[in-house]
Symmetry: D2
Subunit: 267 residues, 4 copies
Amino acid sequence: MEFETKIGYSKPDAIFIHGYNLTEELIGNITLADMAFLGATHRRPTLEESKMLNACMVAICEHGFTPSSISARLTYLGAPEAVQAAVAAGLLGAGSVYLGAMENTAQMLQDGWKSYGHYEEVASVATKIIDEWQLKKLQVMGLGHPLHKPVDPRTIKLFSLAEELGFSGKHTALMKEIHHGISEQKGKQMTLNVAGAIGAILSDMKLHYSVVKAFAVAARAVGLIAHIVEEAESGRKESMAQKLYDHIEENTRYTNNLGDFELKNQL
Amino acid sequence: MEFETKIGYSKPDAIFIHGYNLTEELIGNITLADMAFLGATHRRPTLEESKMLNACMVAICEHGFTPSSISARLTYLGAPEAVQAAVAAGLLGAGSVYLGAMENTAQMLQDGWKSYGHYEEVASVATKIIDEWQLKKLQVMGLGHPLHKPVDPRTIKLFSLAEELGFSGKHTALMKEIHHGISEQKGKQMTLNVAGAIGAILSDMKLHYSVVKAFAVAARAVGLIAHIVEEAESGRKESMAQKLYDHIEENTRYTNNLGDFELKNQL
Amino acid sequence: MEFETKIGYSKPDAIFIHGYNLTEELIGNITLADMAFLGATHRRPTLEESKMLNACMVAICEHGFTPSSISARLTYLGAPEAVQAAVAAGLLGAGSVYLGAMENTAQMLQDGWKSYGHYEEVASVATKIIDEWQLKKLQVMGLGHPLHKPVDPRTIKLFSLAEELGFSGKHTALMKEIHHGISEQKGKQMTLNVAGAIGAILSDMKLHYSVVKAFAVAARAVGLIAHIVEEAESGRKESMAQKLYDHIEENTRYTNNLGDFELKNQL
Amino acid sequence: MEFETKIGYSKPDAIFIHGYNLTEELIGNITLADMAFLGATHRRPTLEESKMLNACMVAICEHGFTPSSISARLTYLGAPEAVQAAVAAGLLGAGSVYLGAMENTAQMLQDGWKSYGHYEEVASVATKIIDEWQLKKLQVMGLGHPLHKPVDPRTIKLFSLAEELGFSGKHTALMKEIHHGISEQKGKQMTLNVAGAIGAILSDMKLHYSVVKAFAVAARAVGLIAHIVEEAESGRKESMAQKLYDHIEENTRYTNNLGDFELKNQL
């Protein structure tokens, strides 16, 4: 049996990745995020693409205490010898509910242009998408934020960079129109959130929506380092995960149909 | 119950990470790898640190078909809708046998200077470490490679960059001395491999050995993107994982103590 | 903040799980699979339910060399000190493509009765489901097997047990009718596979389709023990995972658009 | 390339696992836990072994809100479509700190008899082990519990079953002696905990300590079903994971060296 790959190969004195000599062309010349781009597109990014992609990945790297980082910390508490397991546990919750929003936005915008592009006017395409999603009783993607209201500061920054670097194209325009349309409809300024901004920009970088989640997952892996380091520096007894575990143990009420127990849940 | 973190906090119009304003100071100014550095050290890297760290992470991002990337591909075959699970599965094998070598090298060098630094001469410290490891019947870390003989091209490149950027310090010197000592002992030029080089350089960047594996794991998460994309682009039937599965199914021999079966292992 | 659970609680001298005294009523009286049932339904299974569930879980525990068990073995190769990571990696591929079939069959049958139950005759309900799925250009669930043709021996056994134990109800009847309908349509005997059988039987045990995959995943966790033990007993050099890795490394061809490389893929 | 396995093989009309005909000898005749035993020992358990193993696995299946079940719930919150990821995340924390205790106890007892068995008297072997561990400044395994004091009710039950079923052998005796020795030394009755009891009993069932953790991990996979079902039944808004996430978000204080921030940690 023979296997094939376009990714790379090695000789004793040289390594090639997607056709580039690793030591002569990549190490020292490109950033870690560029390797993500290379893996997804089979070519090195331009300087503008590199800067834009690093900006997007930096923007979503760190999210504070989320289900993802808390799982990583709890896993580290139980298996400090297996840091890879803590990172993996932190990534596993990157499903449809959280990290999915970037991919879903990119898909909405890319499919939208494909389905309704013949309407030509971006405002008409936006209207068609809004109608389609509302007909399906779905909320359009990329809007709303519990804290960053009425504006997500990351969106401002990323859109400004995209303008400067040449990635403010038809998907970004469409996202802004959708934002405008929904805000009008609701009679208030909705937040165009960071997932909406990145979904649009990566689309204007010509990345297919199906790779968007992989970029988000890789950025999260980098972001989880801070959480594991903070657990390690706290020491186990003072760690967030240990405190959380203790707190839950002391504050859990047993309920059943009879409803008359109130005892510690420490099995 | 109150939880604490040094990592960051948000206001409606601003986000702070390790004291930096995310949109004013980080996005657009730093690379993804710098976020790893920031998470581990609580400060932004200098330009030299950023360049060195990106170089190290780029160097270990992609390793071709390894147990790690094959697991990721097999997991993607079964659960293409959950890219995060494929990445997680690819990271989970980053245990003591593979990705552990960088951390172990860094620990060997950092502990070595701590234990034997009073001998002052780097050659004496190297001898003491070699003696200690051989007394424990262990092989010293960072040496040997099945293909890259007698030289690992990544080591040459990374050591050259470290020299240029100011990270060729006492740990790198010690690693080179250990390499020299073992090569003399064996009467042949051993390979100072990429794990040895990175373990030494990250130590000279003053990173504690305990964070080294987290950096390696994050770099792998980026590297796995190429493998997932290749699976997706092949289509399921032509994917490496499907071919591999078919191949194994057709080439498995059942053996037991009686030893007289030879049948397909397709349960 | 207070958390609530119906699962259980502890006192210094007694532990209660779903209302049962763990040491007085469960340990020594019920099987491991019964704990799965208890977790899903909040009550102990009857003897018949216990026997049926154990039979179903035993039937799907072990599948030979599959993407799932191969990932577990490759992960163990890299991280033998973290058995939990090997099991987790083996479970992560249990997505839509493989282990999903049982859940999907159960959903097809449960939703089918809900949507078309007013047709009363099981044959009519089956026809409606077949029409619905074929209109959506989907293959109905639970049919077909590459090796077990025209009959899956596990299906025979499980349906026979279900009959004996009182779980051959309307979902099993519906699955058989669908099988009959599709076989007639194709003009050949299709295999009613083990996923189809279990999806039907668990539905007749009144388990909601949404818990079916969790049962399958737990059974796989038990099945993976055999694979990890076989790797451990072989020793690393002779292990299946190491041989597989070596084999892939020696048989990978680098291809790119230029198509003129043929070199080892050992980065 | 040819692969080998002792686990099993299939023919169109029959499946063999470890030499047993799956449909004729296993399904309907053995329990799920017996498959774990079969995988680890390559033979079906006796009735006594089956009963003992089921008892041990039932005893450790459910532990209430622990880092493991909380991680599973948080992962389910983010990726409800990927139940396998929630189970995997729940298993990943089964490292050295928690589920490791059973394996470590088994190893302590098995190695203990190997090293000191020539002293013949179980009391002498116990003394030697206590001395050895205390010389290394380690706490002996299997003792102590924060809630179940001075007696763990599971230990009483499991030791009583082991006596009845013929598995109260030299390792159980040794564990009891160690318990006795440490209690005397400390001048108070220590708890011989469930991990100590199971480590001893599985050793007396002649299971090698290296498979003990895999049994514990598989039992946890079964136990996690209850937690995932409880999350699903609560609905996302009322789920424990969502409440926990909200609670943490509202109760996190940002701290740094300057120590003067107190803001929401919602990035």
